[in-house]
């Protein structure tokens, strides 16, 4: 995977976030502090601008710059969480990114998110979309699927994980203050993570 491909992925993610900014914020207003859409839009707009201003020479540098921009520009908890995801992806990416390499990088990013946020599966967070996506991607790559099919499987797993957050009771973040009242709402972080995987399936194969 070239730096240009990764930039195309992140640019597509930024587009999807921008298009769905109001929906993301509406989800967050139901169970959080009503800023997920505007925060992610601000952060990803800054990422696209930073990558355009000085295009990084390799894949790891794209991921590092993306992470460093997000931890600074998002403002909410998604900043450190998405920022850590990309910063941790940069490590494995230094060896070059083929399909298996991308899966390993995404897994490293996921583990970074787990360590940073201390959320577990079922806590009604982005982990509930990202974990299933990593599992599906690993399984598809291990089974010999071409990258396009593997990323499509990861995107569907993320979307299913997002949908499965609806009945959950939030145990992390601002939504956890609501307790049982958080059940019945789709998690905004899992929703934006599903967009990240959708963007990957559309651009990285």
């Amino acid at each position: 995977m070239t730096p240009e491909q990764l930039t195309a992925w992140l640019t597509r993610f930024a587009e999807l976030v921008h298009e769905q900014k109001d929906e993301l914020t509406a989800l967050d207003s139901a169970i959080g502090d009503a800023d997920h859409g505007s925060n992610m839009d601000r952060g990803m707009t800054a990422v696209v601008a930073a990558l355009a201003e000085a295009p990084p020479a390799d894949a790891a540098a794209v991921l590092k710059k993306t992470g460093a921009t997000l931890v600074s520009k998002v403002g909410g908890a998604s900043g450190p969480l998405y920022g850590t995801l990309f910063l941790r992806m940069a490590g494995p990416a230094a060896d070059g990114l083929d399909g298996a390499g991308f899966a390993a990088a995404l897994r490293a990013g996921f583990e970074g998110v787990l360590a940073r946020g201390k959320a577990e599966p079922g806590d009604k967070t982005m982990v509930d979309a990202l974990g299933p996506a990593c599992d599906a991607l690993d399984a598809a790559i291990a089974g010999g699927s071409p990258l396009g099919e593997a990323l499509a499987a990861a995107a569907s797993a993320a979307a299913e994980g997002r949908d499965a957050t609806v009945p959950l009771v939030a145990r992390k973040g601002r939504a956890s203050y609501l307790g049982e009242r958080s059940a019945g709402h789709q998690d905004p972080g899992a929703t934006s993570t599903a967009l990240l995987l959708q963007a990957a399936a559309e651009t990285l194969a």
Binding site: N39, V71, S72, G75, G76, G79, P80, R116
Partner: protein
């Protein structure tokens, strides 16, 4: 030299007011208290890079105790550690203390010349006077 203090908050107004309240305890005394709070456009939020810069600015070599409000302030402070030089990171304590009460306790002992561990311990005791009063 003394231990530096950093306040991380979603809101610049909240952080500045907390620092004002705490500085009342330090008439005529110097103490490095840095704020990393809010977003440049005035909206609520935290910025890990700004926290990292505030820690560096507050550190005179004796270390830094960081007080935070909630949520992303905590995650941004943890993330900020990644961007510090190793020697600076080794002398930073992220405090679980309540922001206002912890800050007041921390500035008093820091201005008195206490070391980082003692400043952090004092911050954690910040709720004790209130608890005693309400018992």
């Amino acid at each position: 030299m003394s231990v530096g203090i950093v306040v991380v908050s979603h809101s610049a107004a909240l952080a500045d007011a907390a620092v004002e309240l705490a500085r009342q305890m330090l008439p005529g005394r110097e103490l490095a208290v840095e704020v990393a709070a809010g977003m440049p456009d005035g909206s609520l939020g935290t910025d890990a890079m700004a926290v990292s810069e505030a820690i560096t600015a507050a550190d005179s070599g004796d270390g830094v105790v960081v007080l935070m409000d909630l949520g992303s302030a905590v995650l941004s402070a943890q993330t900020a550690l990644e961007f510090l030089d190793d020697d600076v990171r080794a002398r930073v304590t992220l405090s679980a203390a309540p922001l206002v009460e912890g800050l007041v306790g921390a500035v008093v002992v820091a201005a008195g010349g206490a070391g980082r561990e003692q400043v952090a311990a004092e911050a954690l005791q910040g709720l004790a006077p209130k608890e005693a009063q309400l018992r």
